[in-house]
């Protein structure tokens, strides 16, 4: 029972991880850039919903468009003001550039909101839980899982079924060929950043319902997202979905596993260590990921 419960909880949180990692993998697929500041977009999305809820008394779930919009604007702004310049330089400069953006947003949040831990305490679903059969789900986590799935499906539909989405895919597969087909790749890059920022903004808005927002929260989730992206294969969208769920299950099962065999060493404080280790092992053993399409 404990195991099945952990499994279900893992799937719910895994759906959210998949949504966080989605933006990272889209950006990576389209322009081969790793966005270290991705976790900070998430953090700002969390704060956006928190403050809307705090000042305007709007339910956190209804405040999601605010965080989505903030994420999209952030993505767009960082593309036009920073990433475009970084693209001209060597790879090392690109890494450091997004790293700088990450530090900047972290300490901007520290400056504006202080280092306090903040969590939403009022809302329709906050503090409620539902029992389905023998299993009890927290309302916020259930909503986060379901809404993540819906957001993911919308983006997936957009990328695979609409003309613009297909153009984006074409840019990811071969930039030069896409240019010859009349696709404005610069705009596609910007679009990738908008999608990346928007989805992670939504994820942040969902996360703040049951997780503390603080300026340094991003690094933890960006590492999880890196693990998902590596597991799914860098740039693969289907892959990142399954990988997110797998990582979610891994994270939830690990403490349960430790509990079952009665080992203190496998306690919950190591559950993220496992994620880091997983990343390391995956990229070393199978760099193309489980469902990879790009090397």
């Amino acid at each position: 029972m404990l195991v099945i419960d952990a499994l279900l909880q893992g799937i719910l949180i895994g759906l959210l991880f998949a949504l966080v990692a989605l933006g990272l993998t889209v950006i990576f697929g389209v322009m081969d850039i790793v966005n270290f500041a991705h976790g900070e977009f998430l953090m700002l999305g969390m704060y956006a919903v928190y403050w809307t809820n705090y000042f305007l008394n709007i339910d956190p779930l209804l405040a999601l468009p605010v965080s989505a919009a903030l994420g999209a604007v952030l993505g767009l702004a960082s593309y036009y003001w920073l990433i475009r310049y970084l693209l001209r330089g060597p790879a090392i400069a690109q890494l450091f550039g997004t790293f700088g953006l990450m530090l900047f947003l972290q300490y901007l949040a520290m400056f504006l909101f202080s280092a306090d831990y903040r969590m939403i305490d009022k809302g329709v679903l906050v503090g409620k839980s539902y029992s389905i059969g023998p299993f009890i789900f927290e309302g916020t986590k259930l909503a986060a899982g379901i809404l993540s799935l819906i957001s993911f499906a919308v983006v997936y539909y957009f990328l695979y079924k609409t003309k613009t989405g297909k153009a984006l895919q074409a840019t990811a597969i071969n930039k030069e060929a896409a240019t010859y087909m009349g696709i404005k790749t610069d705009r596609m890059n910007a679009l990738a950043w908008v999608i990346g920022g928007g989805t992670v903004g939504i994820a942040g808005g969902l996360l703040v319902n049951f997780y503390y927002a603080y300026p340094m929260v991003g690094i933890l989730f960006v590492m999880i997202a890196f693990a998902c992206v590596a597991l799914g294969g860098f740039g693969s969208i289907k892959g990142v979905f399954y990988a997110g769920i797998l990582v979610g299950i891994l994270e939830m099962m690990f403490p349960v596993f430790g509990q079952l065999i009665g080992s203190d060493f496998l306690g919950p404080h190591f559950k993220f260590t496992v994620v880091y280790l997983a990343y390391f092992i995956i990229v070393v053993v199978r760099p193309q990921g489980l469902f990879g399409w790009k090397n």
Partner: protein, 297 residues
Amino acid sequence: MGSFVKTVMIQFMLFSLFGMGWNTIGGYGGQVELGKAQYVGIGAYTVALMMVWWKVPFWISMPIGILIALGYSFIIGYPLFRLKGHYFAIATICTSLVLKDIFDNWNLVGAAKGIELPIHEHPDFLYMQFKSDTYYYYFIMGLFYIAIFYMNWFRKSKLGYQLRMIKDDEDAAESLGIDIRWCKIKAYSIASAFVAVGGGFMAVYNLYIDPASVMELSLSIKIALMAMLGGAASLWGPIIGAAFLVPLDRFLGSWLGGHKGLTGIDFMIYAMLIMIVSAYQPKGIWGIIEQFRKRGR
């Protein structure tokens, strides 16, 4: 020399040492390495633990720390250098965070509380315990000069040339018969040894270490940043970077310390610097100097 200036100078030389170490793999080798803090930790913990447990003098425990760092870097470097670019950079962060998590929870080594070094009543050269900063100052200065001479030799050594070749074009380097992976591992180990020396020094100088101070990700970033800002792949780059950032750090720290509500501004200025440098002059301050020198000719 005032004691404040001396403290800043010690920090400056310590970070130059770290930066020069990082420069072997990160600068000359062109591999974005963001996990140097784990070697600071290894150096610091070896010295501290051996002193606390077995009263081993600093002069013996520091070389042992270097050896452990070398061994560990070979073990971890072997799988690590199957990776390139972004994959490699993230993997180095991962290994560093795993080690920090372990030390954070391992009661034998003090867990998150850290360890305090026993304080001797009288100054003791063997244990590197002095009443005044002056001795530490000259000691780190000695290391600093050794590092400069070593780096000057290194950049003209066979390995130095091989690394630059690898950085420019891996395929070409391989076709010339250079064992790429082995070269990178060697450079990585040299970098680790440098950093472990600095870590050992940090333990005896601060007399207290915990995972948050010697293994934090921000330390890895600072090390790479100083070298990058000053100019990676140049002899003077890391030194210029440290000479620029360490006093800035101190100045901002003491200036902002008096103004409540301004926390974070110092790092925001840092971050702006990183973004501007990577967008406009990835070769750093040394790159700008080179540009002017070429124009002058």
